[in-house]
Symmetry: C2
Amino acid sequence: MNAEKIPDIIIGRLPVYLRALQRMADNGIKTTSSQELGEHVGISAAQIRKDISQFGEFGKQGTGYSITYLLDKLREILKVDRIWDVALIGAGDMGHALARYQGFTNRGFHIVMVFDNNKEKVGRKIDNFVIEDADKMIERLKASNVKIAMLTIPATSAQSVTDKLVQAGVRAILNYAPISLNVPNNVKVQYIDPATHLQRMTYYL
Amino acid sequence: MNAEKIPDIIIGRLPVYLRALQRMADNGIKTTSSQELGEHVGISAAQIRKDISQFGEFGKQGTGYSITYLLDKLREILKVDRIWDVALIGAGDMGHALARYQGFTNRGFHIVMVFDNNKEKVGRKIDNFVIEDADKMIERLKASNVKIAMLTIPATSAQSVTDKLVQAGVRAILNYAPISLNVPNNVKVQYIDPATHLQRMTYYL
């Protein structure tokens, strides 16, 4: 299995399969087919078979996939068969929502630090998190093993904070700031910008 | 220009170009090149030229693109040269964050209604929005011209609420619930699920 050889577009679909399979497992379902999984995620059965076959032989002709087995394999492939510590940068409305978000549970992620540059917020709590001073961010990240950060700060400071995150060893950034970030090749960025997602749909209306 | 002929992957990049160009315009920049725009958004100049040429001739050889002209054209293509009314379904932490989000300003969207099924929340305010009863949602949407909804409710009720939205005339849904939705062909769905975005990056770590 070589990270360079699997197209990123396929990697992008695996978390969607994982989520749907987890949901089936939660509902007590033991096996599924490409057809059934496809109906859940809105992707053709042929595409699903092709995507999954990139990583080896998972299903048996006629009997379909064992959901437990496929879940284990997908978690292993995506490296979420462990828990990743995540730093949250920005304790505004979106930062608060993410700090309280229950959807990371059992999906491989755990927020361990929350930073903000507003001195009035530093020391305050969001549920169990104490908001830390952004001035200490590089130092704190370097002393930890945090490789993943979520960025919920204004666009104007997003690039400079990103540069600091990279300097501190962060290798994956989920960016909520409405701006494209420049990062070295060994750093991954994913974007969440609701306006961009909406604009992608209005074209069709 | 035929909506069926432009691949969706290209449509998906246009909002990113629009955002970067808007940012340049805000900084007083008048013209740009595929090269420069590419550096801002992390996409090759050749890809940008190809994407933009799908919609006609925008740039002049050697002088680059007029940013104002390209902005106008992109807004027209994506149909965000107008303001779309948006309904927000779910007044939890994420719903609150979206109701207060400043990032929709000047990007074509305006939240006009907020619904929740929790009777204790109904009648309360989020800034200027009064939270309305989800039981009245279909009726209210049908009486309005709302074609777009953002869904920030638990996965367990997301499909049933989606069915109601479709029944009420909604044609584009931005779904924050961590579940794939089944909708008719004439309805578009975009997904925002931070865990899925994070899992797409851990593969590379």
